[in-house]
Amino acid sequence: MPRVQSSIADAHSVVGRQPRRWFPLAMAAAVVTLVWWSARGAEVDLPLLLRDGPQAMLSYAGKLFPPDLRPEFLLDTAFGALETLAISIMGSLLATLLAFGAVFFASANLMYAGVLFEREAAGRVRRGLRLSLYLGAKSLLNLLRTIPDIVWATVFVFAVGLGPFPGVLALGVHNGGVLGKLFGEVLENVDRRPIEALQATGATRFQILIYGILPQALPQFLAYALYRWEVNIRAAAMLGLVGAGGLGQRIHIAISLFLEHQLLTLLLAIYVIVTAVDYLSAYLRRLII
């Protein structure tokens, strides 16, 4: 009976569905309008770029050559590159720990909703407590994420002084928020059938977490952490601009003091370490998934 009814309902909806020819046109018009508005808002001026741009860029690029390859400067560059690498590793590690600590509280299907709570009989107080913990963790992660890492770096330079350490803190805190969101999506998308099966054997929520949820989520957590590491190595090079150590700090000095040959060497160093980390991370992620 229900099947018959649903097939009648399907037939109705097929008849009722008019071909909406205006829809693609309207979408195209909306996209064009949005692009035009953005170009105006961003003061995009192609003629300006084409009139003076190429000349200026070429002459600056010409001044960069040749790179400064004196041994003592190469040594300093290598030290800066290693410092940047170290900042990115420690920052990613801190971010992963922060996200891992908060994400379970920020996941609705672990805190109050879904199959784990079908037969939940918690009182109003406990329910409220859970919900506020959930909202608290969620908004904390949002806050960490929405403040850019460069702003965090400025704050931490004030707090702990110049050097790589504020860079680590800035990367860790900002990316803790980013990873928290990504981890949260992993948790909300785990297959819930094994979870239901484990619950039906009489397992506690903690046991369900370690047998049913983490085996599904951890490899993806790790893959996301590695992916953020790739982003962080680039970010770590930038954070130096506000005094948070690494190659960026040297770039900032080179630009300010017009040391163009040194600048080129530093840019090449960034190219090398970013590429190296990209490959390494991609390789490790392939191993996991």
């Binding site: 009989a121 099966a197 039906a200 054997t201 009489g202 047998y211």
Partner: protein, 273 residues
């Protein structure tokens, strides 16, 4: 073992999935539940294995009113009921041994559960269960590398180490080939007979239900249509139970449909052997 008194489950306020069902299942019985898809069979099983909370009526497990249990008492009651699912519901990335031992979680403390992931606890129980289902050599295999039939055997082994009083099997053979389907149903019925565990099984296939079970319940629209031994199940009963279902579903259930009717199957045409 089970006693249902006007048990009721309503989804989203108006979709009545289980409609005032009353019945009794004695310890050690083997019961098959058949009916068209959408009849509410799975919802009934999810009430019986204490995953869902009933919206009305009472559910007795022995002398225990389990319909409103929660917390520790609920987990203790769940431990007495083992469930086998159509999709196996195993954790694909865990090795077979941990999926089997997951059946012990209800009996273990949290720390023992963690420790077992490094050094499997009660390994003999897992090995014995896998031997009983015929795949002892898969103990350390990764679960997602097994075939569908082997995964279903792992799921059965998980129930065996749980040592429940009742085994609920919700469409356990809907996603395996027919030969294997017979083997798995026979295995579960034998386990139930030899150990005295109560067995309730949802089945798509009328043939399997009539062949292996001393008691067959026809379920439709959230209600029990009939409840009797297979010899008393008539073609008219089956015809009424499956009236109006689609052709593909009828074929899946093993009920022949007239060739000229693409959608509706009218007749009580199930062939008796």
């Amino acid at each position: 073992m089970y006693r249902l008194e006007n048990l009721r489950k309503v989804f989203d306020g108006d979709l009545v999935a289980v409609d005032d069902v009353s019945m009794k299942v004695d310890p050690g019985e083997q019961v098959a539940v058949i009916g068209p898809s959408g009849a509410g069979k799975t919802t009934l099983f999810r009430l019986l294995n204490l995953t869902l909370c009933p919206d009305g009526g009472r559910l007795w497990l022995g002398d225990l009113d389990v319909g409103r249990l929660h917390g520790r008492a609920l987990r203790a009651a769940r431990r007495r009921i083992g469930t086998i699912y159509q999709q196996h519901n195993l954790v694909p990335r865990l090795s077979v041994v941990h999926n089997v031992l997951a059946g012990r979680l209800g009996a273990w403390s949290g720390w023992r559960a963690v420790w077992s992931l490094f050094r499997p606890q009660e390994l003999e129980a897992a090995h014995a269960a896998l031997t009983q289902v015929g795949i002892p050599e898969k103990l350390y295999a990764r679960t997602d590398e097994l075939s569908g039939g082997q995964q279903q055997r792992v799921a059965i082994a998980r129930v065996l180490v749980q040592e429940p009083e009742i085994i609920l099997a919700d469409e356990p053979v809907a996603s395996v080939d027919p030969n294997l389907a017979h083997a798995i149903v026979r295995l579960l019925v034998e386990i139930s007979r030899s150990s005295g565990k109560t067995l309730l099984m949802n089945l798509h296939s009328v043939e399997l239900a009539l062949a292996y079970f001393p008691r067959v319940i026809g379920f439709r629209g959230g209600k029990i249509e009939f409840d009797r031994p297979p010899v008393d199940v008539t073609e008219e009963m089956l015809g009424r139970l499956y009236a109006g279902i689609s052709r593909s579903e009828a074929e899946e259930a093993g009920i022949p449909t007239p060739h000229d009717s693409p959608l509706i199957c009218y007749g009580p045409l199930f062939p008796r052997k």
